[in-house]
């Protein structure tokens, strides 16, 4: 199967079943490579991770993304995973973050200004969908989910993946950063 001139390594756009709707919009399924390119092209991306990132395999990859220079908002208790990781990670409550992200006066977690692409990873599905519902309706930010679940309220999202495929997809994404 081909996509836009490239070979797809990991297929992440299947299994986008939803059980309820918020409205007429749902996330566009996205392949890892495209996701990687999108992040690379962003001026101020922010990786927002949740507590589930403390899973060893996921944490490793989140740190790899962080090491590519992407700042990390460590929500929930995920901060614990980044303490000695030498990445730009800061704790923030995700609901507060949802508020700040929509505020043009906010200078970002590091004081360097607002973000333009929000990447979410390792959250409770229902929780991140709610946070993204706010962002989607009240800000102009682009959002991208690279989580294991299909996160319908992001602008773009992987489909629902098994753990192994998810890790491979993240690897492919990281390669494309």
């Amino acid at each position: 199967m081909s996509w836009a001139g490239g070979v797809i390594m990991v297929e992440t756009t299947k299994n986008t079943a939803i059980s309820t709707t918020w409205g007429t919009k749902i996330a566009k399924p996205v392949q890892p490579k495209v996701a990687g390119k999108l992040i690379s092209k962003a001026k101020r991306p922010l990786l927002v991770v949740g507590g589930d990132v403390l899973d060893e395999d996921l944490l490793k990859r989140a740190i790899q993304i962080g090491k590519k220079g992407i700042p990390i908002a460590a929500t929930g208790h995920s901060m614990k995973g980044f303490v000695d990781a030498d990445v730009d990670a800061k704790y923030v409550n995700i609901h507060s973050l949802g508020l700040y992200l929509g505020d043009p006066q906010w200078h970002g977690l590091d004081g360097n200004g607002q973000y333009d692409l929000i990447i979410v990873l390792a959250h409770k599905k229902y929780y991140i969908n709610q946070v993204l519902s706010g962002i989607r309706n009240f800000t102009d930010l682009k959002t991208l989910s690279i989580d294991r679940n299909y996160i319908q309220n992001a602008d773009m999202s992987f489909g629902k993946l098994d753990k192994e495929t998810h890790l491979k997809a993240l690897d492919e994404l990281i390669e494309n950063l």
């Binding site: 409205g23 919009k25 929930g76 409770k124 929780y127 309706n137």
Partner: protein
């Protein structure tokens, strides 16, 4: 009806009329007006506390996370409001979300108040309108009613006036849900806080009324314990299961059991707050309840499906809509006892007891509506005793046999539709896969995480009763699911407040953590135990109520003690207090009012704004509704919020649609006046929110500690609070908080053990000047410490501002 005008008059001519004067309405209102100690807002209408609300919203901004982008209120629509578009009536998404939140709040408030009205009709009917209010060792018996309405009810009859006010306000608020009413989200928000405040009045009426009449503990420290958990029921005995929140009918079951001396013959257990209030009934003075507490709503389907109950008595609130359907499957008769839940059942209220018993036992009728509580008491017990042998003989249960279990497990095609439907996205498919290979552990793990909603089942293309499979695999866990809950004590008494008030205001007691709400936990029941244990060990006062109070008692330490046995129950640091059921939540907010009244000698009658201002600036209390699920929780939270008490809800709470969160980086928002001179004082950005969510217990712990910090803390208090904040952040997040330094006003605020280390950081990372010899901060803090400063958000309270 006739109206007698104000004035001195003789009403002798009324002597030959046979009348009851329900209440001398106008008299009270008049009295209130002339008494000088009533504040500016007795019985406030929607607009009267709006300026206070706007002050709150100026700092704590509504943030909306819609559950739906559409509005379907009227037939002009429905309308897509996404991207904050306007609908056909001109409303935008933000305003609609605020309106939806308001609707949640008034629904919850109505649930409590309607419960109160029902109870009050019942109690007045039984005990008379003259029956005095008695809540224990307190002069301040109804702090919330007094604060809000300006009057001090002395009898049950007086409570009716408070409810009249509540019902009028709720009707006004419900009216604004109508299309074509309010247009501004900020005004919907103010209305939501109004609804929250009203809710607390309704709750207080309910609980004060029942405490006064039903021999419930009255501010007692040493209440007894109630057995707890699905594992605590002796399934060999006939069992009556009660479900709901309104104890009125249920007391008649206890009376009947008492009267007939059947204590040992029958098991009486309850789900949700009816269970808690059953345990309070006749438990004054440390008496032990005969009833048991099964658990919160998350156990409802599980317990019914177990087949253990022989008859179910439902009243109102938190009763699953499918109880009748589910019970019918297992030949469990259902008795409905309240107009709010009638399940379409035939009204048997006026029928002969024998006929009803016979119809239920024979299975001729699946249930009955009985609004005569004496009949309910007798029928519930008799039906249970008569039907139990038959039911046990048949071995009626929905839990599969071993063979069935294996068949069901193998039937799964791993389509994951159940996981998609599961509110907490449990890994059901993987657990089934493990079970296929006879590893039951994964399924068993789900039991405590599962909120027992059953949504997995109708979506299963293979018709697997998923919940039953999980429960089958969890039999051992369920048997071990037994603990104890301390019987709810009602209010905090005036003397306790007198003793503890100073510690709270100065911060030497690090804070009050109020753990309330239901069982919609993100990671299982133990969450709540972990939090309470941690905070209690740190000397916080932990006050609990409702289903959170149950879940706390489900876990025991190695010595077999629950937290209730580990920690004493006085209103004092390091104590664990169960106030009671859902409506007892009012006592938690009331505690803060009492501190203002008793410790600080503030006048409270009709003086809402001033007291809320006092609470917000001086009382380090944070509420945690970790498993909040229903509309009631949003009402309770909003009542706390208007009173200046911040609330954290679990991640599911994001589905309430809106939070109120401050922006700590907007410095101009974080100031108060010093009431001594009207000067503007900067304060640290706490409480940082009025209501927000957190993702995990680990995140919650430092949040709790931080949000108990208040401008009024003295150095000792601030040091203690900051110590906990820093320690909890390090323990659970692995790092110093980003913002710990903003709470430091001078070196004495610094945690003693870490003073040097922290001073170094202040110097190197924040550029503060330190005198290292004296270990003194020379410059840096954005605010000064002044023990006699009087922080307030109300300019009118500043000296020289009195009008």
């Amino acid at each position: 009806m006739s109206q007698i005008k104000t004035g001195n008059f003789s009403i002798e001519e009324l002597e030959n009329v046979h009348i009851t004067i329900g209440s001398v309405v106008g008299a009270i209102e008049k009295e209130a007006e002339v008494e000088e100690d009533v504040g500016p807002t007795p019985c406030p209408g929607i607009k009267d506390l709006r300026e206070w609300d706007f002050k709150l919203f100026n700092r704590y901004e509504p943030i909306y996370t819609p559950v739906c982008d559409q509005c379907c209120y009227c037939t002009f629509g429905k309308c897509d409001l996404s991207k904050n578009k306007e609908g056909a009536c001109g409303i935008d998404l933000a305003s609609h979300q605020a309106r939806e939140f308001l609707l949640r709040v008034i629904t919850g408030a109505a649930a409590h108040s309607a419960h109160g009205r029902h109870l009050l009709h019942y109690l007045i009917d039984k005990y008379g309108a003259d029956h005095p209010i008695d809540v224990g060792a307190s002069n301040l018996k109804t702090p919330i009613i007094q604060l809000v309405t300006g009057s001090q009810p002395e009898t049950l009859g007086d409570l009716e006036k408070a409810l009249d006010y509540v019902e009028e306000q709720l009707t006004q608020l419900l009216a604004t849900i109508q299309v074509g009413q309010e247009g501004a989200s900020i005004d919907f928000e103010s209305k939501a806080l109004h609804g929250g405040m009203i809710d607390h009045v309704g709750m207080e009426v309910s609980d004060v009324a029942q405490i006064s009449c039903l021999n419930m503990p009255k501010s007692e420290e040493n209440t007894s314990f109630s057995e707890l958990g699905m594992g605590c029921i002796d399934s060999d005995k006939p069992m009556v299961l009660t479900i709901g929140h309104n104890v009125a009918a249920v007391t008649h079951i206890i009376d009947y059991i008492d009267e007939k001396g059947l204590d040992d013959e029958i098991e009486l257990g309850g789900l949700c707050c009816t269970a808690l209030d059953m345990s309070r009934y006749k438990s004054e003075g440390g008496a032990s309840p005969i009833s048991k507490v099964i658990g919160p709503i998350s156990k409802e389907l599980k317990f019914i499906r177990s087949g253990v109950p022989d008859v179910i008595v439902v009243d109102e609130q938190c009763v699953r809509a499918d109880v009748l359907r589910e019970a019918k499957e297992l030949s469990m008769p259902v008795i409905a006892t309240n107009e709010k839940i009638m399940y379409g059942l035939k009204d048997r209220t006026n029928d002969d007891v024998e006929d009803i018993v016979s119809d239920l036992v024979s299975g001729k009728e699946a249930g009955a509506l009985i609004l005569d509580f004496d009949k309910v008491g007798e029928i519930a017990v008799r039906v249970a005793r008569e039907i139990a042998p038959v039911r046990k003989d048949k071995g009626l249960t929905a839990i599969p046999s071993d063979t069935e279990f294996q068949e069901l497990v193998n039937r799964c095609i791993h389509c994951q539709l159940c996981e998609n439907a599961c509110p907490v996205n449990l890994p059901i498919s993987d657990a089934f896969r493990a079970a296929e290979s006879e590893d039951m552990g994964e399924l068993e793990k789900l039991h405590d995480l599962c909120i027992g909603c059953g949504k997995c089942e109708p979506v299963c293309p293979k018709d697997i009763p998923v919940l039953n499979v999980i429960e089958k695999a969890s039999k051992k866990a369920i048997r071990e699911e037994r603990g104890r809950v301390r019987v709810g004590r009602g209010q905090i008494s005036d003397p306790e407040i007198r003793e503890e008030g100073v510690n709270l205001v100065l911060g030497t007691t690090p804070g009050i953590i109020a753990m309330v709400g239901c069982s919609n936990y993100p990671e299982g029941t133990k969450d709540i135990y972990k939090i309470a244990d941690e905070m209690l060990r740190r000397n916080y006062i932990v006050v609990v109520s409702g289903c959170a109070a149950m879940d706390l008692g489900m876990y025991q330490d190695d010595d077999g003690n629950t937290l209730y046995e580990k920690y004493p129950a006085k209103f004092s640091k390091g104590n664990l207090i169960n106030v009671g059921s859902c409506v007892s939540n009012s006592h938690i907010a009331a505690t803060a009012i009492k501190v203002a009244a008793i410790f600080a000698q503030r006048q409270i009658s009709g003086n809402y704004e001033e007291i809320a201002d006092y609470v917000m600036n001086r009382i380090g209390a944070t509420a945690l509704a970790w498993g909040a699920y229903s509309q009631k929780a949003s009402a309770i939270a909003s009542g706390c919020n208007r009173l200046g008490i911040p609330v954290i809800v679990g991640p599911h709470g994001s589905k309430y649609r809106r939070a109120l969160i401050g922006r700590p980086y907007s410095e101009e928002k974080w100031t108060v006046y010093d009431a001594r001179n009207g000067e503007i004082m900067p304060i640290a950005s706490v409480p940082e929110f009025l209501i927000t969510t957190a993702g995990s217990v680990e995140e919650v712990m430092p949040m709790l500690a931080k949000n108990c910090i208040r401008p009024s803390d003295n150095n000792m208090g601030r040091m203690i609070k900051l110590t906990h904040y820093i320690e909890l952040s390090q323990k659970y997040l692995g790092v110093l908080p980003n913002d710990w330094h903003i709470f430091v006003r001078n070196e004495q605020d610094l945690p003693l053990a870490k003073r040097d280390e922290l001073l170094k950081i202040l110097e190197s990372e924040h550029g503060w000047e330190i005198d290292w010899k004296k270990k003194k901060i020379l410059s840096g803090p954005s605010m000064k410490f002044d023990i006699s400063a009087q922080p307030t958000n109300l300019e009118r309270l500043c000296r020289g501002q009195e009008v």
